[in-house]
């Protein structure tokens, strides 16, 4: 099933984490990006982990992410390199 975001970006296959639509669960995929901060890995940003973008701050940055049971916020630039695959929506 093809999912489209504002009719522009395809959400099939891996997409950059920053492009993840708000409120949709996704799973981190691929190798760990090489220039990402060690701290993000320590917080559990490892392949296979489920996460969702809860909301973006009023000015678009930082981003609130729900991951491993906690909600944390990060600046967009720090999340560069992570790719995610959307989970199928169970309920619409």
């Amino acid at each position: 099933m093809a999912k489209r975001n504002h009719g522009r970006v395809s959400l099939d296959g891996p997409i950059p984490l920053q492009r993840l639509p708000e409120g949709r669960w996704a799973r981190l995929v691929g190798a760990v990006p090489h220039n990402v901060s060690q701290r993000l890995l320590d917080l559990g940003f490892v392949p296979g982990t489920r996460l969702k973008i809860v909301r973006r701050a009023p000015l678009g940055d930082p981003i609130e992410i729900e991951i491993r049971g906690s909600r944390m916020c990060f600046r967009r630039s720090q999340l560069r390199g992570f790719r995610v695959v959307l989970e199928e929506e169970h309920r619409s």
């Binding site: 760990v32 901060s37 060690q38 701290r39 993000l40 890995l41 320590d42 917080l43 559990g44 490892v46 392949p47 296979g48 982990t49 489920r50 809860v54 909301r55 701050a57 009023p58 000015l59 678009g60 940055d61 930082p62 609130e64 729900e66 991951i67 491993r68 049971g69 906690s70 909600r71 944390m72 916020c73 990060f74 600046r75 720090q78």
Partner: protein
């Protein structure tokens, strides 16, 4: 070191440390375990707070150390490095630990177990305390504590810290750490995070801990508090109340403290025999103690607000909303509230910068904090503006005087932001610290914890800064009082005071620095005022009054007239013109004329290097800005009439 613990109780006191992430409920657990016995200090050589207490009912045989909150070991910040050093017994002055109590928030177990795994690698006898288990149940989840204990091979206790649930069991365990069983598996010290969390996910699967449904209350509140429009409006409202309360509630208490010490001083002068010892007591010691205590109302109110907002969970939200803007000048969301507090006073503002987790942004915040217009500058601004800026209407109800006042506030705040941008791209250059911040679920604050935290902040100020501020006040008093001029027979007391001040060391320094400040339009009298204002900015008003032989320092009218009348005996020109006043105002915007601020800065940055730097760069900036202001004002015809 082996993982097997000694079978017998050691002779010396047993030492156990609490380790866990921020927001895991570590402080609440610590308070529940130690009662009121906490001793707060610093780790040797660093500004990381060290808290230790005696385990309830252990009669001093078990000491509990509350290590700083950290999300993982091998961290970058000073707080996080301390944790690992203490764990390894490698911190000078810290004896070996007999056991580690890992503290993890049960609602974020899938993250918290990552830290637990890292702790297991350190091969200390260990137990795990799961906090907030009531929230797990309330959200419809469950955690099998027994299963988790079997998986990890260490005792696991679920607690609700603020209600005391499960605390007795923890107390019983902590009493005898040498009896704790050893962990089932010990991972390598440098385990890869990918593998670490694979283990975490396996454990969670084995104990059947599913992901928790979201906290509905938090979702509902956030929908409003983080809303693009309402969220910003609510933040503005919170800040307004915050800000207003510092001024309206603290001001009466500060005035009361001030007048109490003024009264005590005059009573002392009346009762005690005259002489320099009485003067030392009244003018040095009492004034010094007063100048320390006068900060207390602001500190208490400010920290009540900060801790309350933090305990509830709103602080992180406010930082989330403003982070983008602060990021433009190299700061971060958490810098916002400390900087705002500096409008009241830089002393609590700099202390509040402790809430900034990353050291680089924290230092930048501290270094620019004194630019924010604090309340001590107000008397100076009020006096000079009232005396020299004509009360002309400019735009509707806005007068020129009000505009100048507003301009000074804006100038200070803008300078702080520009300075932050410049500092973080020059002196503090480097990769910006990773910004990550937890947005914890909203929780009810508990009065007990709040009172403890506020008292802790007040105590820290009194103990660490108060003593030095007191000493500096006494030194300033001596500089302004000695040596005395000979008595002039028949002179008015105000005239004698003027002569004495001119003869004093401070008076001589004023004369000495006159060539340096003359380009700014300042004569030696203003020089003496500037020296005196090093004790506290507002002191310049009283000093100017004294040096112009105005009897009562609170007599603004009299001082204003004296300043306007002041004429150079040689040239016959007015000293104190609009150009001089503007120049002096600008000088006060920029210069770090406040020993208390510098003392607190030294305390918070761990040495006198940064306060010395701040003092120098702010002084240089003040001199240049005043010089430019003075020249421009003269060219506009606001200078001394020829």
């Amino acid at each position: 070191m082996s993982a097997t613990a000694p079978a017998l109780a050691p002779e010396r006191p047993v030492r156990v440390a609490l380790v866990g992430s921020p927001n895991a409920g570590k402080t609440t657990l610590f308070n529940a375990l130690t009662g009121a016995s906490a001793r707060i200090g610093n780790y040797a050589g660093v500004t990381v707070e060290r808290r230790e207490g005696i385990l309830r009912g252990s009669e001093g045989r078990v000491l509990v150390l509350d290590l700083p909150g950290t999300y993982a070991l091998r961290g970058e910040s000073p707080d996080e490095r301390i944790v690992e050093k203490v764990l390894d017994g490698k911190l000078a002055g810290e004896p070996e630990l007999d056991g580690v109590v890992a503290v993890a928030d049960a609602t974020t177990l899938r993250r918290g177990l990552g830290l637990v795994r890292q702790l297991l690698a350190h091969r200390r006898p260990m137990i795990l305390v799961l906090t907030m288990i009531d929230e797990v149940r309330a959200r419809g989840g469950r955690i099998d504590v027994g299963r988790l204990s079997r998986e990890l091979g260490i005792p696991v206790v679920g607690v609700v810290g603020h209600r005391g649930v499960g605390i007795d069991q923890v107390v019983r365990l902590v009493r005898e750490p040498w009896k704790w069983p050893c962990p089932k598996t010990v991972p390598p010290l440098d385990e890869d995070p990918v593998r670490r969390f694979a283990w975490v996910d396996e454990v969670c699967k084995a104990i059947g801990a599913d992901e928790l449904p979201p906290d509905r209350r938090t979702d509902w509140i956030d929908q409003w508090l983080l809303h693009p429009v309402y969220g910003i409006a609510i933040l503005a409202l919170v800040l307004l109340v915050f800000f207003q309360s510092i001024f309206t509630w603290a001001a009466p208490a500060m005035d009361a403290i001030d007048s109490l010490f003024t009264t005590l001083a005059s009573v002392s002068r009346a009762v005690l025999p005259p002489g320099w010892l009485t003067e030392l007591w009244a003018g040095g010691v009492l004034a010094g103690v007063g100048s320390v205590l006068v900060f207390l109302p602001q500190i208490v109110i400010l920290f009540t607000f900060i801790h309350l907002l933090n305990d509830v969970g709103y602080m992180a939200r406010a930082a989330f909303v403003v982070d983008r803007v602060m990021g433009w000048v190299g700061l971060q969301g958490r810098s916002f509230l400390p900087l705002l507090s500096c409008f009241a006073c830089a002393v609590p503002g700099i202390m509040a910068a402790r809430t900034i987790a990353s050291p680089r942004e924290r230092l930048a915040t501290i270094l620019v904090a004194p630019f924010m217009t604090c309340s001590a500058r107000l008397p100076v601004y009020t006096l000079l503006i009232a005396a020299f800026v004509p009360a002309r209407p400019v735009l509707g109800p806005l007068g020129l005087q009000g505009l100048v006042m507003l301009g000074l506030y804006v100038l200070g705040a803008a300078t702080a932001l520009v300075a932050a941008a410049v500092l973080s791209s020059t002196l503090l250059r480097g990769t910006p610290s990773v910004f990550y911040m937890e947005l914890p679920p909203y929780r009810w604050p508990t009065a007990k914890l709040l009172v403890r935290q506020v008292w802790g902040s007040a105590y820290a100020f009194l103990k660490r800064a108060g003593t030095i501020i007191l000493c500096v006040s006494i030194v300033m008093w001596a500089l302004l009082s000695f040596p005395k001029a000979p008595e002039i027979p028949g002179a008015l007391p105000s005239e004698q005071a003027r002569v004495n001040l001119e003869a004093s060391i401070a008076g001589r320094i004023g004369h000495t620095i006159e060539p340096a400040i003359a380009p700014l339009g300042f004569d030696w009298k203003i020089g003496v005022g500037l020296i005196a204002s090093l004790a506290a900015r507002e002191v310049i008003v009283a000093t100017l009054a004294q040096i112009h032989a105005v009897g009562n320092p609170d007599d603004y009218e009299g001082l204003r007239e004296a300043l306007q009348r002041d004429v150079d005996p040689v040239t016959g020109r007015h000293h104190f013109t609009l150009a001089t006043a503007l120049s002096l105002l600008v000088f006060f915007v920029f210069a770090l004329q406040c020993t208390s601020t510098m003392v607190v800065m030294a305390r918070e940055t761990g040495g006198w290097r940064w306060p010395a730097f701040a003092f120098s760069y702010m002084l240089a900036l003040a001199w240049i800005a005043s010089f430019v202001t003075y020249r421009v004002a003269i060219s506009l015809g606001w200078g001394p009439a020829a």
